[in-house]
Amino acid sequence: MTALPMIKKEFRELFTSYKILFIPLVFIALTITQPITMKMLPTLLENATGLPEGTVIEIPTPTAAEVLATAVSKFSTLGSFILIMIVMGSIAGERASGVASMVFVKPISRAKYYLAKAFTYYILTIVSMLIAMGVTAYYTEILFGDLSWLHVWTGTLMYIPNLLLVVTTTLCASSYFSSAVSAGGVSLVFNIVIFTVPPFLGTFLSMVSPDALTNASMAVLRGSALTEASVTAAPSLAGVFSLIAIFFFMGWYLLEKQEI
């Protein structure tokens, strides 16, 4: 028995719950505010009240690439939080409602069930991110001038593993806890730690951390040479993919051992 019926069911659920529409829209809303804010900033400051008379604020107009690079940083905070909210109930919720016990007595292994969940959320995340960055880059071009689309897509693809790590850790927590809120809470704390602490723990951990991948991705979006950026990003890519693999298998193992 393949995991196909389970994957089909998961995708259908994305449609019936409107997640397939809602997530790309939220991601677009998240990133597109960056070029708008940057464009409006001088006007906003000009109209700001309470500044002493004669105050002069000079803000150099950022390049389109700089604007887009800062847009991606939104995913480190609000984007990750939204992903956690979406994924936290995927397994825990089904266990709590009792539907998992209806499914697990059927001839579908827990591994395939887990794989189907992970696959579906990975696809949703990747597609949503690509749409959001595509739309934002297009809008940034209109407001700030030309962009190198090769850099846009490379930088975006480089950042995606960080989001997949958020999905994987949340899924792992969801297969352990029977409460979606507990799973989400644990995943949130873990992701805050893993994204912020390693840079303070020495050169090696700093190089392989998700934060280093964010920086590398932003550097590419700003227009750094791709070869140079790839070399810088390699250790962090390896580190993030290792974490994804570790938490993927840990979640799978926890679900296998879980009593339903």
Binding site: M6, K9, E13, V99, M102, V103, K106, I260
Partner: protein, 309 residues
């Protein structure tokens, strides 16, 4: 009855930390028919069923379902069983037809078979008319019927039902028991309940569990032969003196029960009891209202077995 060993539990224990829920549970079931799994609330019925279905693993002991180990061959076991939990849950956005089709694909059935089985089973379980409505809008009884229908799609050797009628109205209960009577002709029906009337009506084999231990496993035939003793039932118009103590001190009285104004007396010597009991009642100053000798009901046996152990 066939001689296939369909269920075999050998010395199962189950602990959650220091709390031991099951202790040395052993029983085996052969062939087709209906097995009534009886026990009070908290006796360990649902835990045993979760182990039989592979949803939980025993702390020690072995469980075989249709010849397969329920822990090591979980996937093979799932092909041989149908399971109906106490409170069935579904993906609420699916209709009954969609759920049946989805479950059919999990069993690897072809589209034609799934379609035929779906039509047949939804008719059989009495929810054909609502088959295209989302399950989220179903009543508890309708969900229970759908749970039974979907548990049968793979034509299992054994169907395990956890308190299948407890959430149903009298008509629903009657229908489900009728369905169980049909199913037990072609497969093993393992049904947990604490409703003794239902067991008495449909079960061919009975397993009684008390505080995590099996205290009785017997065919209904053997049970009637070995446990069913005559019992004298009587009611009084007027009671004087401590009749219960008087009866308990009588040598041939083995048990006295008083419930809802009705006395039940079991005796080691029924002839003597029938001759002397009315005199004892009169001697106590009480006035008899009704008096009859009858057979023990399943409730009497259940109470006797549970109290003895």
């Amino acid at each position: 009855m066939l001689s296939l060993r369909i269920l075999e539990c050998e010395r199962i224990t189950k602990s959650y930390g220091k709390n031991q829920v099951l202790q040395d549970v052993s029983f085996s079931i052969d062939g087709i028919g209906c097995v009534g799994f009886l026990g009070a609330n908290g006796a360990g019925k649902t835990t045993t069923i979760r182990i039989l279905t592979g949803l939980a693993a025993p702390t020690s002991g072995t469980v075989k379902v249709a010849g397969y180990d329920a822990v090591k061959d979980r996937n093979k076991v799932s092909r041989e069983i149908g399971y109906v939990p106490q409170i069935p849950s579904f993906y609420n956005y699916m209709t009954a037809t969609e759920w049946m089709h989805w479950v059919g694909t999990l069993y690897g059935l072809d589209k034609k078979t799934i379609h035929e089985r779906t039509e047949e089973l939804l008719h059989l379980c009495g929810i054909y008319e609502v088959k295209d409505r989302a399950v989220g809008g179903y009543s508890g009884g309708m969900k229970q019927r759908l749970a039974i229908a979907q548990a049968l799609i793979n034509q299992p050797k054994i169907i395990i039902l956890d308190e299948p009628v407890s959430a149903l109205d009298p008509m629903g209960r009657y229908d489900v028991l009728l369905l169980i009577e049909k199913l037990k002709q072609v497969m093993t029906v393992f049904m947990s309940t604490h409703i003794l009337d239902d067991i008495e009506r449909v079960a061919d084999h009975i397993v009684i569990i008390r505080q995590g231990t099996v205290v009785l496993s017997s065919t209904m035939e053997d049970l009637r032969a070995n446990h069913v003793e005559p019992v004298i039932e009587f009611t009084l118009d007027h009671q004087a003196g401590d009749l219960i103590t008087m009866l308990e001190n009588t040598p041939w009285v083995t048990e006295v029960n008083y419930n809802g104004g009705r006395y039940k007396v079991q005796s080691s010597d029924m002839q003597k009891a029938q001759a002397e009991l009315p005199q004892i009642i009169i001697q106590s100053g009480s006035i008899l209202s009704s008096y009859q000798v009858s057979a023990m009901t399943l409730e009497d046996i259940f109470l006797k077995v549970v109290n003895q152990s």
